[in-house]
Amino acid sequence: MEAKEINPNIDRTEKVISIRGLKKAFDDFEVLKGVDLDLYKGENLVVLGRSGTGKSVLIKIISGLLQADEGQVNVLGREVGNLTPKELDALRLKIGFSFQNSALYDSMTVRENLEFPLVRHAKEMTEADRDRIIRFVLEAVGLSQAINQMPSELSGGQRKRIGIARTLILKPEIMLYDEPTAGLDPITSIEINKLINEVQRRFNTSSIIITHDLTCARAVGDRVVMLLEGQFQRQGKFEDVFDTKDERVKAFYNYNFID
């Protein structure tokens, strides 16, 4: 797949996420060792790295699912670590989180999955309006026909799409994708990559995409950063990141394509 053309609408003057000196350890294992990161408005930022390097931990800290040990995490002008539960919930409404395994609610149909956030956070909305929005996001991810299906009846790719649709339903300003193409066949992966770009264009979102799939990184990233040994070692355009003599980066590139 061809490299993505950088989104011309990125506003380099407005940081939607700004992270400084972020550290996180689990028992004695230090996963993030002082990470600095900025995400600009309208940008798709890909975070590359091997499994277990703390990529998912990073976005879980951004969304407040995990707490940082040290450092500042500023999202849309709010310091995540200092928010009250109510303030954190208000911030979360502006963040969409697409989980690695989609995390669809098993006991609910697709419609109920999509309705779930609306019922709680758009209480004034009529049933007709809810139905219209549900159909709109389903159409946006190309799965209008799945509205009454159970998650167990969907394929992996379809589940990912519905997961993304569920995050889009509250019109988030920031999208966090955790391994969006993991476990998918190459063709479905390309479809998901296109969808991520489509979401950026159509919903004007800023996104962090966590992946170790280089095809995905090249297809969706306006900028790529590489997490190695708990710190960002390389960042820039996809080609620039891998234009290096660093053996660890080269190995990541070579093994990815051998896989």
Binding site: L65, R92, Y105, D106, P117, R120
Partner: protein
């Protein structure tokens, strides 16, 4: 003890270390249970109230348990009556069977049997469901969508269990008494009216209150244990299995302890 025993790596040191670690883990677990229960009591009073979910869980816990509860309660009534008859017949006192059945079922067997069956069916169900939701990140998904998963999943299930177990207990008690009646009627030709007259004659208001209080506590225990184990499960699918299993074992253990304690308290009140 030799001074060398205190060196790191020697057997007594290791043993002490393991014991301390187990104790640490136990206290950490106790603190975690305390926080979980405290969070329930903190969140249960405040909106949003998840009425739809509570009603759904009441249906799951109550209505779906009816077939199993009916069968078990009915058979227990028959078997208990049948097994008690020879002892009473030895004294020529089979006429006291309805009173005996009544006291045994209303005071102890109704609440206990219902709670044990519910611990097996409902407790494991809640533990496995929440455990599976935890390991597949569905609980995290709720949290990042600014929905309080504790309120939606835990509070609703614990309330439903606390409401439905007393209702199921009343039903089990009635079905067991019916089973007992069939057996008594077959052998002693006692009429339904006479049977139930003797049943209600033998029990007091305190028995009914005690039975109700017990079943409320059992219901709360089953819901809380299932939710705690499931909500805090980890380690993938293995963790889900463990959560389900541990929900049943822990709930049953606690139910027996509670039964023992409540029985002592009620007996003390009865003696006053």
């Amino acid at each position: 003890m030799d001074l060398d025993d205190n060196k790191p790596g020697t057997a007594p040191t290791r043993r002490r270390f393991v014991t301390t670690r187990r104790l640490d883990r136990m206290f950490v677990e106790l603190a975690s249970v305390y926080r979980f229960i405290a969070r329930f009591f903190k969140e249960v009073w405040f909106p949003p109230y998840e009425f739809k979910e509570i009603i759904k869980q009441c249906y799951e816990i109550g209505v779906r348990s009816l077939p199993l509860i009916s069968l078990t309660g009915f058979i227990i009534g028959i078997v208990f009556t049948n097994q008690s008859r020879p002892s009473l017949a030895g004294f020529g006192a089979t006429a006291l069977l309805p009173a005996l059945i009544s006291v045994a079922i209303v005071r102890a067997m109704g609440p206990l049997v219902t709670a044990l069956i519910a611990a097996g069916r409902v407790g494991s169900n809640i533990g496995a469901e929440l455990g599976s939701m935890r390991v597949t990140e569905q609980i995290d998904a709720m949290e990042v969508s600014a929905t309080n998963p504790f309120k939606f999943l835990v509070v609703s299930r614990v309330l439903a269990s606390t409401f439905m177990i007393p209702a199921l207990t009343m039903y089990t008690t009635f079905v067991s008494l019916l089973g007992g009646y069939l057996n008594v009627h077959q052998n002693e030709l006692t009429t339904l009216t006479t049977f139930f007259y003797q049943v209600f004659d033998a029990i007091t208001f305190l028995d009914i209150i005690a039975s109700s209080v017990k079943s409320v506590i059992f219901g709360f225990t089953i819901g809380m244990v299932g939710c705690y184990k499931g909500y805090n499960s980890s380690k993938g699918t293995e963790g889900v299995g463990k959560a389900a299993n541990s929900s049943v074992v822990t709930a049953m253990f606690l139910i027996f302890i509670e039964e023992l304690l409540i029985m002592q308290i009620i007996n003390a009140i009865r003696a006053v």
